[in-house]
Symmetry: C2
Subunit: 376 residues, 2 copies
């Protein structure tokens, strides 16, 4: 099969290399690149030229960002090309539209690389759902923030110091807000919820990040036998679902707590299979490239043809996600003492907690909040 | 598709229930049971009667044991039936024969449920190998022994006490030797190595278990920041491979150390995907039943048709698996002190370590040995 790559950054180069070295039946014949970077005879700066090439049966989008990725993916689907994408932002924003276009054109839409890099999470959910309902999921979905928290804990270093180190190592962007404010995890949570629950997921999920996490916060939780992980979570049942992104004070003995460096850990609960977890490299040229190539092979071999049908009426109900919360803040809030400067507020929805955090941030912009699971 | 179940124990009943409740396109029309247990019109005590039923296209073997399972699987394959099995003992003993029969008859042979229960490990390895070489694997593959070690550690209880509790709960057999001496893990390691490395795996792998593990041993390792897990491991490269089963003193901060109760954790390293891990229920009616049903669906939909080709010449080379070892023994051995009554012996092959353990057991039958990874 002849395929086109849209984008030739870290991921695109990984895909090109893996296919050249390891996949004889697939050939990258076209690559969309910026006009000043056309260094390879396969490259063009014109998407229309790629679209006009009838030999191209599948388009891999790994440009990132919303536009022009959204337009290109929609055009490729409309033109009868299968699409494989690693772009979580555009998929989170437009999955329902893409799914409808793929369905109408009778082509495949493959999202494995958009969540969890090389971890077979999306295909794993889809496989579980052939037999089971997925009743909940949760995950360490962002390697950058896991790296930061892990390094803070192990090196006893503060947030800014570790973030700067992560930026030097290329684990964090120069503008780290998508990672540390939970936006990246929200995109991945939206996609996971859509695939797990068959729903065009609510986009405005309660979201908080780790920007205000201090070494002292980690030490406070450590004294309670816990550490902090930024988790995306979703739950469904009885025709309703909820999802949220927030730091969670997980038990120090949990698998989440043991996830090192920039690895991801993704967990689901299925009706008969029970708890399943998937762990691996959530980013990087070869792991994410591998996920894309696996999707391409699923398409080429016909092994897997995802169908996303969002027609069932599943109601978004934030009250399904309840937890206790710890806030470290100087704001005047009602709550039980949890440690120096920290309060425990019981039984909030994720949405209610996010509102309380906003209230606290208004008077203390350094406030940090984490959910405290009621049982582990 | 109409299918037959051979065996109606815990797993067989799970398969029957999952198919009845959740899989409309598959029907269990025949069940092989003992003559005094024919409680259902689908049941017969005659395998030949099932074999003579041309409507049956696929046979699920979940009887366990070597015979008659071996004869029935071989007959079913020869007769052109697809076979799905959860029987690790018979697969470990006869995989090359079954693979050749399946190939000759043009039918599928599906093994997912034989290792890791509901964990998608076998299909996971096969998927990785579409793109990557698998260079190593390791796993907590036996829920009973993980339950025992976990409970010893958490309840500060000794081996015999926890084993008795596990037997009461049904987690351990009345004769626990297959679990605690590593025989069950050896079968799963043989199967994993066969699938990961495409080799008719050596059957006589170095194998030791946890029968002699004491609470004092766990406390000794705990003082070194470690705990003990019974692992099956394999490694391959440069036309050679090795595999072994032994207790390993893993770092307390590792994911292995965090695996609770009777869960399994299976890890592989792939060329481009890097480290991947799969975690879940390694046994039980519904999880193992789920794995069987997933295999049935892979067969029905054509999504996956495993091909096991053991024709490549991969040499078994025990020297590929080297480690340091700790022995708690009163036997007179050369080594460095590791703690009260315990010695550290450096740089042994798994095979050499097993020979040293035999030597120590001859003079101290309570000797316990664990590998000490050189880096974590």
């Amino acid at each position: 099969m002849k395929i086109a790559l849209l984008g030739y950054g870290t991921v695109g180069r990984g895909v090109d290399r893996i296919i050249r070295e390891r996949v004889p039946d697939v050939e990258v014949t076209r690559i969309l690149e910026l006009p000043d970077r056309l260094s390879d005879p396969r490259m063009t700066a014109s998407f229309d030229e790629i679209l006009a090439d009838d030999a191209v049966e599948l388009v891999v989008e790994c440009m990132g960002g919303i536009e022009p990725a959204h337009t290109y993916i929609a055009s490729a689907l409309r033109s009868g090309r299968h699409v494989v994408t690693s772009n979580k932002a555009v998929v989170a924003a437009h999955l329902a539209e893409f799914a409808a276009l793929a369905h109408a054109a009778g082509v495949g839409l493959y999202l494995e690389a958009a969540v969890g890099g090389g971890v077979p999470w999306i295909a794993g959910i889809e496989k579980v759902r052939r037999v089971d309902d997925v009743t909940s999921f949760s995950g360490i979905m962002n390697g950058t923030t896991n790296y930061i928290v892990d390094a803070m804990r192990k090196e006893r270093a503060d947030f800014a110091e570790v973030l700067a180190e992560a930026q030097r190592l290329g684990y964090a962007e120069r503008d780290p807000s998508a990672d540390i404010d939970g936006v990246d995890v929200r995109n991945k949570t939206i996609i996971s919820a859509s695939v797990a629950f068959d729903v065009a997921c609510e986009k405005d999920l309660p979201t908080s990040g780790i920007r205000n996490l201090t070494l002292a916060d980690l030490e406070l939780f450590s004294a309670h036998g816990r550490t902090v992980k930024l988790l995306g979570r979703g739950v469904a049942g009885n025709g309703r679902y909820a999802a949220a992104v927030e730091p969670v004070a997980v038990a120090a003995s949990s698998l989440e707590a043991a996830v090192p460096s920039n690895f991801n850990l993704l967990t689901l609960d299925g009706t008969t299979v029970g708890e399943l977890r998937f762990y691996g490299q959530g980013a990087g040229s070869l792991p994410t490239g591998n996920a894309i190539v696996q999707d391409v092979l699923d398409c080429v071999t016909g092994a897997r043809r995802p169908v996303y049908d969002f027609s069932r009426a599943l109601a978004y109900d934030p009250s399904l996600l309840r937890s206790d919360y710890v806030l470290r803040t100087t704001a005047a809030l009602d709550g039980e003492p949890y440690g120096p400067g920290a309060l425990l507020v019981r039984d909030l929805t994720a949405e209610g907690a996010r509102a309380l955090l906003d209230e606290a941030l208004a008077s203390d912009p350094t406030t940090f909040m984490a959910a405290l699971p009621r049982e582990d």
